[in-house]
Amino acid sequence: MVTNEIEQFLYAEAAMLDDGRYEEWLALFADDGRYWVPLQGSSQSEESKCNSIADEDKMMLALRIERLRAGIAPSQQPKSCMQHVLQRPMAVDEAFLNPAVSVLRTPFTYAESRGDDMVTLHGHYIHKLVRTEGVLQIALKRVNLVNASSRLPMIQLFP
C-alpha cells in the first residue's frame, strides 16, 4: 500500500529537482543512499558487474551539485533546467524481505532543456525508502531508462 505520505514525498522530491533546490534534495538521501542509473535499465541486477550510466553515493552527488552551483562549467552556459512528470507510484512488494523498507515504482517522463536543445527520457524509478528516527529517507533511487543501452546525448542534471 502506498500511503499519502510516501506519495507526497516522491512528488516533493521531483519538485526539488525541478526547482533546482539541490541541497534540499541531497538531504533526502540516507547517509549510505545511492542514486543509480543502470546501463541495462530494469534488467540489470544489483549484483551485476555491468557498468552504469551513473552510480553515485552522497559524496558524488555533492560533487555534481557543487559543480552546478559554482557556475564555472562551460557546459552550463546556458544553464540546463528540467521537468519531471510522474505517474502515481505503485508499491513493489518486498515487505516480506524487510518490513522497514518501502519500495516504490514510479513511471516518469523527464525533459532536460538547455538553450534550444531538449533531451527527453522515459522510464520508471524504483525508490527504496527507509525511516530513520521517524524521517523518511532515500536509500536508493534507481532510474530505469527505457533506452539505457542506446546511444545517448549528454544528460547533465538528474533524470
Partner: protein, 416 residues
C-alpha cells in the same frame, strides 16, 4: 563542416585504412556475432563453426536486406538465413540455398554477383584479439599501417600475466553533435584539461575539503582529481607520433601513473613476463594512445574508446572496458569506474568536453577565417613524418592526425 568532405572521408579514409571492428572476446563461441557500421556500411563479425573469426558484409545477396539486425548474440544452427526470402548462407558467406531453385535454371545466378553470397570484408586482421578490417580490396597492409603503435596494444594485453583481456561490463554509447575529427584531436590534446575540466576538479576539491586530510579518497575522486594538474605536468608527460596519424600522450607519466599496484600482482607479472618487461608494463600508463582514425586506448584503467562517425556533425563514441584476466579485481573496478566517470553520457568530466566540441562545430561556421591554429611547437623537420618524441603539449600530436587525413582522403586511393 561540409557534407561532401564527410562523404569523401567515408569513401576514402574510412575505407582504405584499418578500422577497429571489435574484440574477439565479444564472440567466444561458434555462432557468436556482433554487428556494426564501417564507413556507413553494415558489417557482421562472427565466429564460424570451426572457431575462426570472420567479417562479412551484412547485406543479403538477393535483395539487399541487412541479414542480421541484432547488435550481438548467437546464431542458431549452421546457416545465416535472410528472413525476407529465405536465402541461406554458410558462416563463411557462401550461398547454400534459396527457394524455387528451378526458376534459376536458365539464369546465370551462380556466375553473377548475387551468386557469390555474402562478401567478406576485403582486409581483415586480428592483432592479439583486437579485430580490424579494411573495406577496400587495395590499400596499405596492416603492419605497414600501424607499425610501432601496436606496442601500445601489447602494453594493455600484457597487463594480464596470461596475456588475455576480456570485454565486460557493457558499452557506454554517446552521441555528440560534432565532427569526429574534433573528438579524436581532443584525445591527445593535453592542454585542455586545465581550463575545460576546472569545473569538475574544483567541485571535487570542494567536496573533499570537509574530509579529514588522512582519510582515504574514494576511487572516483582519485580518478577525477589528477585532471587538475598544471600545464607543466602535461607538457612534461611526453608525447610521441608515428606515421599514419597514430600518437601517444603520456609517454613519461600521465594522470594514470598514480594508480597503485598490489604486490602479489606485480610478482605475478614478473613471473610471467620477466622483471624488465613487467616493470615496463607497469610504469607505462600513457594518457591516451590513438590508433588513427577509429580507436583510442587507455592502458592503465584498461578501457578503450571507439570513434564511429555518423554524419558530418554527428559522432558516436563507444567506451568499452576490459577485464584483465588473472589480475586483481581492482583493475576491472578501475576500468568500470573510469569509463563511468569520464565517458558516460552523465559524466561530469565529459559534459564540458562535449559542450566544447559542439561549440567548435558551431563556431567553425564563422566565415571570419577558414583557419584554426595548430602552431604550437612546430618544427620544419617534423614534415618528414617519421616516428618522433615530443612534449605532451606539442600540437604535432594533432597535426600528425591531419597529415594522415590528407594522405588517405585522396580520391584516387594513391598515397600522396
Amino acid at each position: 563542416m561540409s557534407k561532401e568532405v564527410f562523404e569523401l572521408e567515408q569513401r576514402t579514409l574510412f575505407s582504405n585504412t584499418w578500422i577497429y571492428l571489435g574484440h574477439a572476446s565479444q564472440i567466444p563461441s561458434p555462432g557468436d556475432f556482433f554487428t556494426l557500421d564501417v564507413a556507413g556500411q553494415p558489417v557482421l563479425v562472427l565466429r564460424d563453426l570451426g572457431g575462426e573469426v570472420r567479417a562479412l558484409h551484412n547485406r543479403c545477396a538477393h535483395k539487399g536486406a541487412k541479414i542480421v539486425t541484432a547488435e550481438s548474440g548467437r546464431l542458431e544452427g549452421r546457416f545465416l538465413r535472410c528472413p525476407y526470402h529465405a536465402w541461406a548462407y554458410r558462416f563463411d558467406g557462401e550461398l547454400v540455398s534459396y527457394p524455387l531453385k528451378d526458376g534459376y535454371e536458365c539464369t546465370q545466378l551462380r556466375q553473377s554477383e548475387a551468386g557469390l553470397g555474402l562478401r567478406p570484408i576485403a582486409g581483415f586482421h586480428i592483432y592479439r584479439d583486437f579485430i580490424f578490417g579494411r573495406l577496400s580490396p587495395e590499400g596499405v597492409g596492416f603492419n605497414d599501417y600501424f607499425g610501432d603503435i601496436l606496442q601500445t596494444i601489447d602494453l594493455m594485453v600484457d597487463r594480464s600475466p596470461t596475456g588475455r583481456l576480456q570485454i565486460e561490463g557493457g558499452v557506454l554509447r554517446n552521441v555528440i553533435n560534432c565532427n569526429w575529427k574534433l573528438y579524436l584531436e581532443n584525445i591527445n590534446d593535453s592542454v585542455h584539461p586545465v581550463s575545460a575540466h576546472e569545473s569538475a576538479v574544483r567541485a571535487a576539491q570542494a567536496v573533499l575539503k570537509d574530509l579529514p586530510a588522512d582519510a582515504p579518497k574514494p576511487l572516483a575522486f582519485e580518478q577525477i582529481l589528477p585532471f587538475g594538474q598544471k600545464y607543466a605536468f602535461f607538457e612534461g608527460s611526453g608525447g610521441k607520433v608515428f606515421p599514419n596519424g597514430h600518437s601517444i600522450t603520456g609517454t613519461r607519466f600521465s594522470v594514470h601513473s598514480g594508480y597503485g599496484n598490489m604486490p602479489e600482482y606485480v610478482a605475478a607479472l614478473k613471473a610471467a613476463h620477466g622483471e624488465e618487461r613487467a616493470t615496463q608494463i607497469l610504469e607505462r600508463s600513457p594518457q591516451n594512445c590513438v590508433l588513427y582514425p577509429s580507436l583510442a586506448l587507455k592502458g592503465s584503467p584498461q578501457t578503450i574508446r571507439v570513434i564511429r562517425p555518423i554524419a558530418v556533425d554527428k559522432t558516436v563514441i563507444e567506451a568499452w572496458n576490459f577485464r584483465t584476466l588473472d589480475a586483481p579485481e581492482l583493475l576491472f573496478d578501475r576500468a568500470l569506474t573510469y569509463s563511468r566517470l569520464v565517458f558516460s553520457p552523465m559524466s561530469v568530466v565529459a559534459h564540458d568536453d562535449i559542450h566544447l566540441f559542439e561549440a567548435q562545430q558551431s563556431g567553425l561556421r564563422s566565415q571570419a577565417t577558414h583557419w584554426v591554429s595548430l602552431h604550437r611547437e612546430f618544427e620544419p623537420s617534423e614534415l618528414e613524418e617519421t616516428t618522433r618524441e615530443s612534449s605532451g603539449t606539442n600540437e604535432l600530436l594533432l597535426r600528425n592526425q591531419h597529415r594522415a587525413w590528407a594522405r588517405y582522403t585522396r580520391e584516387d586511393g594513391r598515397e600522396a
